[in-house]
Symmetry: C2
Subunit: 193 residues, 2 copies
């Protein structure tokens, strides 16, 4: 199994470099994730329960700067072109996160996001996508339909935990699952509402 993501942070400030470097500092020295970066994105390899928590921390840290910040991430599991990596196997099954579990876990960062589940090589893929939209509604993070994706909204922890569960469910149904996510905080578009 090969599980990982390519992610980028876009802080909309002239002083964007320290916001990015400060936010990804928490990834340094970790032995439970492998990483590499270029001018476009950072690649992380590891089990999903570690991957999503690490990205949540990175995003919340960047959002704490107060500037409008966007994270773009593409997750993939089971790509047949990638090698088997024992480090990617979940250490323990991520439990489904229930509404009650959110108490006391909010990060205090409101997130607007869109995401798309893209099950590959699976002729039943549309059913999986529709089913995942229902799961977003049940999880209380569904905001609106969009073309080619669904819009989510909520506290950062709630949204990231939903995304982790969606990715887990996708992997159970389809061997090669891709998920694209865009998360935004501190947008002046929302402040104007």
């Amino acid at each position: 199994m090969f599980i990982g993501c390519q992610f980028s942070l876009y802080p909309m400030t002239s002083d964007f470099v320290p916001v990015i470097l400060g936010a990804i500092k928490s990834l340094e020295g970790r032995t439970d994730l492998r990483k590499s970066s270029d001018d476009l994105s950072t690649f992380l390899l590891g089990p999903p329960e570690v991957l999503f928590r690490a990205l949540e921390d990175v995003f919340v840290d960047a959002a704490a700067s107060g500037v409008h910040v966007v994270m773009n991430a593409t997750f993939s599991r089971g790509c047949p072109g990638e090698p088997d990596e024992p480090c990617c196997y979940p250490q323990q099954k991520s439990p489904s996160v229930t509404a009650a579990e959110w108490d006391g876990k909010v990060r205090g960062v409101d997130v607007s996001a869109h995401f798309a589940l893209l099950p590959l090589g699976d002729t039943g893929y549309m059913n999986h996508i529709v089913s995942e939209i229902d799961e977003a509604k049940k999880a209380g993070v569904y905001a609106a339909p969009k073309h080619f994706c669904s819009k989510l909204a909520g506290d950062a922890h709630r949204v990231f935990s939903y995304l982790e569960n969606a990715f887990d469910r996708g992997g159970v149904k389809t061997a090669h699952t891709v998920m694209t996510v865009t998360l935004s905080a501190n947008s002046p578009s929302n402040a104007a509402k």
Copy 2:
């Protein structure tokens, strides 16, 4: 046929709003594209040869600001959950762009990009993806392999034209084709090289 994209611009400057609004101004009043926006992205609906040229203009305009700017775009054609839209049918077949055609058409904006072709509901999808990597090499825009995507580099017009051709080829092979693209200009990471 339903063909369109969701795209976002991320100018890494504290004065990001005028860069975005200035760049998308060229989309106003057009009758060959339908559009709608929210706090996360702008949706464009229309035939591919119009869509890609319009996005190239938007990106080049934003890059002309001189600030580090990123465009993120997800293209889709043939989603079975979307209605048939006659306005999306190509007015004329986009010709394959040959190397000779680039002479005199460069935009003077160097782009670093990654893209992924995601043919859905097609069990032969991996062959289509591998074939498209070969096409990127032939078009002279392939830069490097990345996990879950391919890295491209070149003048903005050359990269956008390759992407248009890749999307056209994808649509010929697979009824429902998604393509994700991230383009970057003026990155300080590249200036440091």
